[in-house]
């Protein structure tokens, strides 16, 4: 029962941490920059008699977002203002430049990181791993060879499994095998996702 207690506490703390992390990421994005440059009232007024069409932007609050407040200077004399304003359409828009900037930067950095990792895996990794011949993936490997190499691989690493680096390497090897297996399924044998 105590072990169960410990494990469930662990699960709950990890889920609480996840929620806190999500809130920390989302709340600054959500509340970020109600700065002046991110809200506007946009009024589009079509051509009227001999006045050409025009677009008016002004930084006002949502209550004041109508033709009378935004269209300045008013191109028509006083008695025509109502008719002119009936044609205009005013919309309140807001955006968050911070959100956009943050998201694009996050996206580009993830893509960059993935590209670097792919370059590392393709170029640098084979050079490092050259001495470890038995873990090098062979292109025309059969199932038995795969089994043999896999059977051989875990034994040296299990002896020093506790070191963090070894664990990371073990995880990476496992992941690489998995991706290879997936690649064979999808691209070579066309068993899935054709």
């Amino acid at each position: 029962a105590s072990m169960m207690f410990a494990q469930s506490t662990q699960k709950y703390t990890s889920s609480v941490l996840l929620i806190v992390l999500l809130c920390c990421i989302l709340s600054p994005l959500a509340q970020a920059s109600k700065s002046s440059e991110d809200i506007r009232c946009k009024c589009i007024c079509p051509p009227y008699r001999n006045i050409s069409g025009h677009i008016y932007n002004k930084n006002v609050s949502q209550k004041d977002c109508n033709c009378l407040h935004v269209v300045e200077p008013m191109p028509v004399p006083g008695n025509d203002v109502e008719a002119y304003c009936l044609l205009c359409e005013c919309k309140y828009e807001e955006r968050s430049t911070t959100t956009i900037k943050v998201i694009i930067i996050i996206y580009l950095s993830v893509v960059g990181a993935l590209l670097l990792y792919m370059a590392f895996l393709v170029l640098v990794d084979p050079l490092i791993r050259k001495p470890d011949a038995y873990t090098q993936p062979l292109h025309n490997e059969e199932e038995n060879e795969d089994a043999r190499s896999l059977a051989a691989a875990p034994t040296p690493s299990s002896a020093r499994a506790n070191s963090v680096l070894e664990r990371v390497e073990g995880a990476q090897q496992r992941w690489k095998r998995q991706v290879q297996e997936q690649r064979k399924t999808v691209f070579d044998r066309h068993k899935m996702l054709s």
Binding site: M3, I100, I104
Partner: protein
Amino acid sequence: MDQKGYRRGSFQSSTSDEDMLEIAGASLDFSMADDDPPLDREMGGFSSHNGGGMNGTSTMMDFLEEPLPGVGTYEDFNTIDWVREKSRDRDRHREITSRSKESTWALIHSVSDAFSGWLLMLLIGLLAGSLAGLIDISAHWMTDLKEGVCLAGFWFNHEHCCWKSNTTFTDRDKCPEWKSWSQLILGHGEGAFAYILNYFMYVTWALLFSLLAVLLVKGFAPYACGSGIPEIKTILSGFIIRGYLGKWTLVIKTITLVLAVSSGLSLGKEGPLVHVACCCGNILCHLFTKYRKNEAKRREVLSAAAAAGVSVAFGAPIGGVLFSLEEVSYYFPLKTLWRSFFAALVAAFTLRSINPFGNSRLVLFYVEFHMPWHLLELVPFILLGIFGGLWGAFFIRSNIAWCRRRKTTRLGKYPVLEVFVVTAITAVLAFPNEYTRMSTSELISELFNDCGILDSSKLCEYVNDFNSTKGDDLPDRAAGPGVYTAMWQLALALIMKVFITIFTFGMKVPSGLFIPSMAVGAIAGRLLGVAMEQLAFYHHDWAIFSGWCSQGADCITPGLYAMVGAAACLGGVTRMTVSLVVIMFELTGGLEYIVPLMAAAMTSKWVADAIGREGIYDAHIRLNGYPFLEAKEEFSHKTLAMDVMRPRRNDPPLTVITQDSMTVEDVEAIINETTYSGYPVVVSRESQRLVGFVLRRDLIISIENARKKQDGIVSTSIIYFTDHSPPLPPSSPSMLKLRSILDLSPFTVTDQTPMEIVVDIFRKLGLRQCLVTHNGKLLGIITKKDVLKHIAQLANQDPDSILFN
């Protein structure tokens, strides 16, 4: 003992004769599975599936009462046992409830266990909404990157770049901060050379994006390609595909979806968003024991996650839940309905607060007009429905033929080259026509738009008569030259989209189908709408128009025709019914257009069903040979269980294990010689009376474990499945009790049971295998694969196309 008998690797499709019970190789290395961490030894919290208690005496014999890690889990590419999972969950719940009366901590534990489902839904909604926001904003930016860049900050797309500056009425898109590539490089934007430079940059960016996408998919997560919905349908019906809903697949799918959409290919992001949401659901399930350990409960969560995915794609929470119910889920209990709705709402709300489009709308093509329509317009709407059905059937046939060619011929060996060529063709053909150059969502948005005075696009260039302008309501007008140009450009765009989507859907990049089909339908609808409008304008004195469409009245709305066309084409391809109508009316925000939408959706479904029975997702399931048992089956001939069961007439007899007279050696020999995924246990070979059913994986694990950990177990030890050990002379080696892995309640039917009932049992209970008895004695076994092959045979399809178990 040697391990040669245990096959490594996986899901060999049957080339041998014994294609009865397919099995994935016994992989004892649990650390290989990405999303299945080794079971913790949970003492006392986890009862075995036959309802036995957990607290047996810890004698030598009862050593194996506790569940070993690995017992009760499934191999990759196998079907889960729904009955076992559900009964496990019930046992667990019963245990927690009975314990809750003991202490306060146990009470809190039981309350939090009940609450954990809702917490999980909340987290899924948050994560799915955030990812959808990221995808929307990035895709929007990268699509515009093909045409130019913003000097005020490279992260702004065209619309946001020109947000602050004062644009003129006629040239709403031009502002000094946004520079097209030719303006940036050459300094000016006019002239033939600038056009060619823009063309070249557009094609280059498109190729770059799509190449990057396919390389990332191939290098990091090959499961991230395609739409994902057929595979998710199969997973939700009980199939296991390890890694399909994993972390790497999530990351790669999100990233490459943005790249694929931005490269201008004719694909959409709605289907892949469902996959992304299900990945989120699967990953978050690992936080909660209740869902991590139980495959059936996990699938409830995945149904809800799929609803959240569609909800953020269309801004339609109710439509998302109905889509999950209709298209994706296999079992949908009422409890899942409420929770799916909650997840969908949370996701939609999260996306709204991120506000990707700057106007608090979740979708780019939200429709805001509410013009009335007349009953006579049902005729063109039904015409659009017929068009949608025809196009849907045509698309499914050609796409399946092309995918089959990709699967079987050399075309499939060059995925990267294929993506390159298709992107090159799409980009080269798309740039000259402004309607294909813009992103498909923008195209749909423009087609859905009702032309008002304030619109200055080419499609709205009607001949205006300003003296008769009364406020914002414009009457039907004659088409100006701009409209005629737009019409033939749209017709060309239609032809191009119809053909290029066939080759795009199914490539090795994330590709969805909703947006391209809606685009095809919207173009066709708008063309018909404008034609009707001009017909009504020039011939307003005809009998059919005179009643309601007199001169100066605004009667025909081409935007509505575009919407109805989009719904018709989408329904023709996916054969969605209720969910389609609900999604479309959530997009319009009103109930005015329900009747036209329903008329078009029904007509398109009927026409498409008359030509070909399956929707696109079911067709892909059949193409890939996934073991998906359809809900509706009727057989033309009456067959009995004994016609389908194995062993057949001239096969070797059924391989059984006796309950207390086989040694460890005998059992291991059986395991090595045969490849069945499970064996029935009988009282004795003579009587063939059934005791239970034991799974191969559990047998292997238990015997291995016993040999290593238990004293005195040798090859001549007797294995017994009874409660008490059989009487043996004292000099014999100690015996191995394996009752804990025996399923004491296997399902049986008699040999005279009609196959329809057997299929119904399989479908309704989610069985993997069913034993066949005759006069109380065990006769044979029917597996799900046998049922699927039988169905395929009766439908005159190739029964060998069923690949997986």
